[in-house]
Amino acid sequence: MSATNETVQDHGQHHHKDLAHHFDTLEQQHDANTLGMWAFLLTEVLFFGGLFAAYTIYRYKYSAMFEEASNHLDITLGATNTVILILSSLTMALAVRCSQTGNSLWTGRWLLITIAFGLMFLGVKYVEWKHDYHIHLMPGKDWSGKDYWHWQYAKKAKDMETEAHKKGSAEHALPDRKDVLADNDPSLGVRGIQESQQARLFFLLYFCMTSLHALHMLVGFVLIGIIAYFAYQGAYSPEYYSPVENIGLYWHFVDIVWIFLFPLLYLLGAHMGH
């Protein structure tokens, strides 16, 4: 194969200011950018997929304990976060729409509102994780090298919280660590050790998956921020809006991952009218 006498004269052509030099037309550039983002999101599916695979295998192996461990997650906060993220996808879609119609001001504004929702999401996650930390539901070691995870303590804390709820008071104290059996206390038998290990595996997967998700959100904030800045500068127009569109794709992906994470992590063992 080779060219014949036909060639395309492409020198002296008027170059649109947004057309990168290696592309021939704005349309080609737009297509390439969009396809590139879809391909990247495909790799992200496989990236999260590895964690989902590990989760699926252990969820079936240890189904009882995974359900019990899942009950220690706050469904209300999780559901709130789901709503927050869906709203952020709405504002993102609005931003994309504005960029397509050339409304630079509102492109920037909707993008910043999206970041605000994202920050709210992370705020809720912070509250959740702080709570988990205080009741020793974090797998890992403390400064002295001892295991920080303490399943018996977390169970006792949850019981005390339920008690306090029944009595109607919002505040409740945390149990004294000395009053709680160690996870490997002989009186609990192997059941105790097993429960602790399996619940810890659940929480490890919970923290890994939500941390990876949160990391993607942080990266998203930076990218949205940059694009918002350019939007305010009037960089985007109906002829060239693909950065906004593509960051929209990315953000919707982040949202969809959460839509999968929420039921798998929070709703295990939750029943209607539970």
């Binding site: 060219a3 396809l35 997929g49 295998i57 192996k61």
Partner: protein
């Protein structure tokens, strides 16, 4: 030095492409360091990769030398056990992740993909530069792991040894691999979009050169497979630091889960390593037979088939781990399915040569070597997909011989064929045919001497990763080490004559070998910075050597 010129004469059906008046090309238009380190030119990025992967190859080769020296004698007398274990781990990691996986895609792919499809650059030039720096950073981190003391888990990192028992720098190495993995993903992504969206007018999918098809298939595998190893290494790191029990059975975990996750990527990874060489072979055989490639469509589809089937056979690395016999049978049958497209390619190349007009330039000599060695390597895979024989051969030197035949005899020979074939285009210079053919021959002989005895060793039962072995295995090990010394000479020679040619070689015209693809017919040697003076328009199928009036491109 011999003065006999064994170079091919210019194929006069493809006239020389005349370049710019001032002779500027992508190499000489800017000499500053920053223009190289911050280049967005795919051709320069290809050269940056060439330098770095060559350095990594030399390091990996030195480690191989240490291994073969130790194996001269049955007792462990040259290295300590720990050092030996770290040596073969480092050899595997460096050769696979830092040499073979990038080699053809990052060097030749980067240089040639835009040229072969009539584009000015890849779709995302800045992403391309980022890919290079990720590779560089990953290499630095991996080398740091080695300097700190190395890793002794084998490149396969099996748990619970790597997660709980090994006292080596597993996490540092895992981070290095994580980073270089992203280089691979982004390169694959870039090529896929480039082929989809940047083809010049008239260049339909079935007019693409077969090298592009193979790079495309490789890129799909890189894109989809690499994230899984990234997350697997991440989980391994988490297990090592937090001691959580994902893979450790004492804590409720499953060590075989690691193997499934690991091989889900690492099997397709071997297709990342071989597919590009298959593409190079198509190009070289076509040009040096001056004939179209037989069965073009089938060869294109077979590349895609290999990429797809490659994802569903991973557990053939795990036949002895205790997976269910039914699962083993399924994976055995699927593994045979990958052999068929490979066989079809080999037979099609033979048919390409049939009735052709064959010249014996160095690239073609390497392609001949590839044909033989890839055939042997691929056929020995049959011993391993067959369950009844795999049990006996698993984790023995038979496996070592099998994969070296494919990866060294196949992939590296293909890489050398490609480097020699496109060297005039990349550098604008001709290398010495005499030294080229000589080193190809020495490499071929040395290779067979090194690895053929290992098939027998494996059948006799010598396990892998042994630094001490029973006396009865010594004769074959001595043969193997002797061969390795010859192979080392064969691989060192190009460093000298190629580098020499870069500075002092005879100037090449734009199409010294008479290739028919766009990089030969429409660009100068070396190409100008923006590749084409005018965007080509393609009007016919590739590998057409008939009744041509090639475009005479002038400024």
């Amino acid at each position: 030095m011999a003065t006999v010129s064994l170079q091919s004469k210019t194929f006069d059906k493809f006239p020389d492409v005349v370049g710019r008046q001032d002779d500027t090309n992508y190499l000489n238009h800017d000499h500053s360091i920053t223009s190289w380190l911050f280049t967005l030119d795919h051709k320069r990025i290809g050269l940056l990769y060439l330098v770095t992967i060559t350095l990594m190859f030399l390091l990996g080769g030195a480690l191989a030398g240490a291994i073969r020296l130790e194996l001269l004698t049955p007792k462990g007398d040259f290295l300590t056990a720990d050092t030996y274990n770290k040596a073969f781990t480092a050899h595997g990691i460096i050769m696979l992740f830092f040499f073979l996986i990038p080699s053809i895609p990052a060097v030749l792919g980067n240089f040639l993909v835009p040229l072969m499809i009539g584009a000015k650059d890849v779709a995302f030039p800045r992403l391309n530069l980022l890919s290079f720096y990720l590779y560089f950073a990953g290499s630095v981190i991996a080398l740091t792991a080695l300097l700190l003391g190395g890793v002794d888990t084998g490149w396969t990192f099996y748990t619970p040894f790597s997660s709980t028992y090994s006292n080596s720098y597993v996490i540092v190495m895992a981070v290095g691999l994580f980073v270089v993995g992203f280089s691979s993903i982004l390169t694959g992504l870039n090529f896929i979009i480039t082929v989809h969206r940047m083809r010049c007018p008239g260049l339909t999918w079935f007019r693409l050169p077969l090298f592009i098809w193979s790079i495309y298939a490789t890129s799909v595998v890189q894109l989809l497979g690499t994230p899984v190893i990234a997350v697997t290494l991440g989980l391994l790191g988490v297990e090592r630091t937090l001691g959580v029990g994902i893979f450790d059975p004492r804590l409720g975990g499953d060590p075989i889960l690691f193997q499934h996750l690991f091989w889900f990527y690492s099997h397709p990874a071997v297709y990342i390593m071989i597919l590009p060489s298959l593409g190079v072979t198509s190009e070289v055989i076509a040009t040096f037979s001056r004939k179209n490639v037989f069965g073009y469509h089938i060869i294109a589809f077979s590349s895609i088939a290999i990429a797809v089937f490659g994802f569903i056979v991973w557990a053939h690395h795990m036949f002895t781990t205790g997976i269910s016999p039914y699962a083993a049978m399924v994976f055995s049958l699927l593994t045979f399915s990958v052999a068929i497209p490979s066989g079809i390619k080999v037979f099609s190349w033979l048919a390409t040569m049939y009735g052709g007009s064959i010249s014996f330039d160095t690239p073609m000599i390497y392609a001949f070597g590839f044909l033989g060695l890839f055939t042997i390597g691929g056929l020995t895979g049959l011993f391993l997909s067959t369950l009844g024989t795999d049990i006996h051969l698993h984790d023995t030197y038979f496996i070592v011989a099998h994969f070296h035949y494919i990866m060294v005899g196949g992939a590296i020979m293909g890489y050398m064929a490609g480097i020699h074939y496109w060297w005039p285009k990349i550098t604008g210079k001709m290398y010495s045919e005499f030294w080229g053919k000589l080193s190809a021959g020495i490499t071929f002989i040395g290779f067979n001497f090194t690895f053929f005895p290992q098939f027998i060793l494996g059948y006799l039962g010598m396990p892998r990763r042994y630094y001490e072995y029973p006396d009865e295995f010594q004769v074959l090990n001595v043969f193997s080490t002797a061969g390795a010394s010859i192979l080392a000479i064969g691989y060192s020679m190009p460093l000298f004559y190629m580098t020499y040619s870069f500075f002092f070689g005879e100037k090449a015209n734009s199409n010294p070998y008479g290739g028919s693809t766009l990089e030969w017919t429409n660009t100068t040697s070396p190409p100008s910075p923006h590749n084409f003076e005018q965007t080509p328009v393609v009007t016919e199928e590739p590998y057409h050597y008939h009744g041509k009036e090639a475009a005479v491109v002038s400024h």
